[in-house]
């Protein structure tokens, strides 16, 4: 068991190195970032202490890989497996627990540790057999996978659109439109496996165009309900809706380009940072899009001739 944790430590170390940073720099950054985010959370959210406990427990539950758990179960004794599972969950909630201690929420600290303990006995299914129908079957790729993972978010997003109508809040409607593009851009966060690029009988330019067209069409399909509702109830502000629609497409295109610009470099976090930066300062995209396009073409040319 000791060697198991030595290996986990090594794995984290290697992840930092793969990310392109030294662990002694990475650790303090993560700690500071976590502290800052937690502080902001406590400043802005009501009943933050309870929500924080819940977030910690959800993190411990969702951040476990069923295949990893299966491996531990197969190769360790029953008691060893149980100890590792409990300890792993406690380790995962430790940062949350420590912050709660700093804030002097002792009862909540105890609660999060207890939740981590009980979560260890919950079985997580590695894959589900329920097939979620989607309208993206013609070109099964990012949208079909992404939609099946995030379909529940669309209930919330479309609900926001209707709330925007009932409450007479146009901005909320625009926010729901933007949310669709944020969700869609997350479909391009994971690198495309080389094999799935290689199989295309296209050159790099054609491939990128193909990917962009799919994203354009399918994101339009997902935003259509919002566009229809906003055009009926806020026709006078249709130009603003269309501006945000255009921006959304630009944002999505940029994410596709970033994905292939950083293909197989394990830089998902960097992708996220650039994405947020472009969201906060959209003019950055004017420089970012051509840059990432050139870089993506260069990368893809290695696989697509």
């Amino acid at each position: 068991m000791r060697y198991y944790y030595q290996l986990q430590y090594k794995r984290i170390h290697r992840s930092f190195k793969d990310f392109g940073t030294e662990p002694f720099i990475g650790y303090p950054i993560i700690v500071m970032l976590f502290y800052w985010l937690s502080s902001v959370f406590f400043d802005r959210v009501v009943y933050a202490n309870y929500v924080y406990v819940l977030i910690g427990a959800i993190f411990a539950y969702s951040f476990s890989n069923p295949e990893h758990s299966k491996f531990v179960k197969q190769h360790f004794s029953t008691s060893g497996h149980l100890k590792i599972t409990v300890l792993n969950n406690l380790i995962k909630v430790t940062p949350f627990a420590m912050f709660l201690v700093c804030k002097m929420y002792y009862l909540e600290t105890l609660l999060i540790c207890l939740l981590a303990f009980f979560i260890s006995f919950m079985k997580k299914r590695s894959s589900t057999s329920i097939i979620i129908p989607t309208p993206f079957g013609k070109k099964p790729a990012e949208f079909i996978i992404g939609f099946r993972k995030t379909f529940w978010l669309f209930f919330l997003i479309y609900s926001l659109t209707f709330i925007a109508v009932f409450k007479g809040n146009f901005n909320l409607g625009v926010f729901s439109l933007v949310s669709v593009f944020l969700v869609c851009s997350s479909y391009y966060m994971k690198p495309d496996p080389e094999f799935y690029i290689w199989i295309h009988a296209m050159n790099a330019k054609e491939f990128l165009k193909y990917k962009m067209l799919i994203a354009f069409k399918y994101s339009l399909l997902l935003t259509l309900p919002i566009l229809v509702v906003l055009s009926i109830f806020y026709l006078d502000q249709m130009h603003i809706t269309l501006i945000f629609l255009g921006m959304g497409w630009l944002y999505l295109i940029m994410y596709i380009l970033i994905r292939y610009a950083f293909q197989n470099q394990g830089l998902e976090m960097l992708q996220g940072i650039i994405g947020v930066l472009c969201l906060l300062f959209p003019p950055v995209m004017i420089i970012a899009i051509p840059y990432f396009y050139t870089k993506a073409i260069h990368n893809l040319e290695l696989l697509l001739k």
Binding site: S127, P140, I145, F195, W198, H200, K305
Partner: protein, 226 residues
Amino acid sequence: MINIKSLHKYYGNKQVLQDINLTFNSGEIHGIVGENGAGKTTLFNSMSGMESFDGTVEYSKGEIKNSMGFLPTNPYFLSKITGKEYLRLLCNARNIEEVNFKEKNIFDLPLDQYAETYSTGMKKKLALTGVLLQNNDIFILDEPFNGVDIYSNTIINQVLTKLKELNKIVVLSSHIFSTLYETCDYLHYLKNGKIIKSVGKTQFESIEKEMQASGIGVKIDKLNLK
């Protein structure tokens, strides 16, 4: 015809493929054999263009990549994709639009289930069906019989015979000699990144014996099993 000339491949300073020279003609089935780690998969990846290398791989009919169906040893399936959607994705990639997947499902796979939930053998069969539907001229099959049941093995053998009849180029690897005897016209023995022997059908046994004689008994003794 595929002509491989002086193919070398390095991972850092380590040479994994050394001066590979091979010719594959249409209507021929070639088998590549060798111990684990001999370089078979690297050779296939290099031929497909998925890995860079020194040397040349020439194909007489144009761009090799767009005519090649590649079956990896362990096919990777995207999550939340059904078998049918996987096949459609592979067909889309080659601009093949209308396919009756139900009819083409020769292995009777549950195409409406997520591919990631398939067993090892089913995954292999799905991936093979995918490359067969792409209307390729070249087939690189890395261990096509691995994990597949006897009945499906027979189907794969028949598919290979049909591909040969259709004048396709087939290059495969396998550790099961009985299937190689049945399917291949030529066998190439890859050892430590080098082709040390290439033989026709009548001499397959010589490679099998050579591989078996590589000190297996001594290695097992070293285990000191109790």
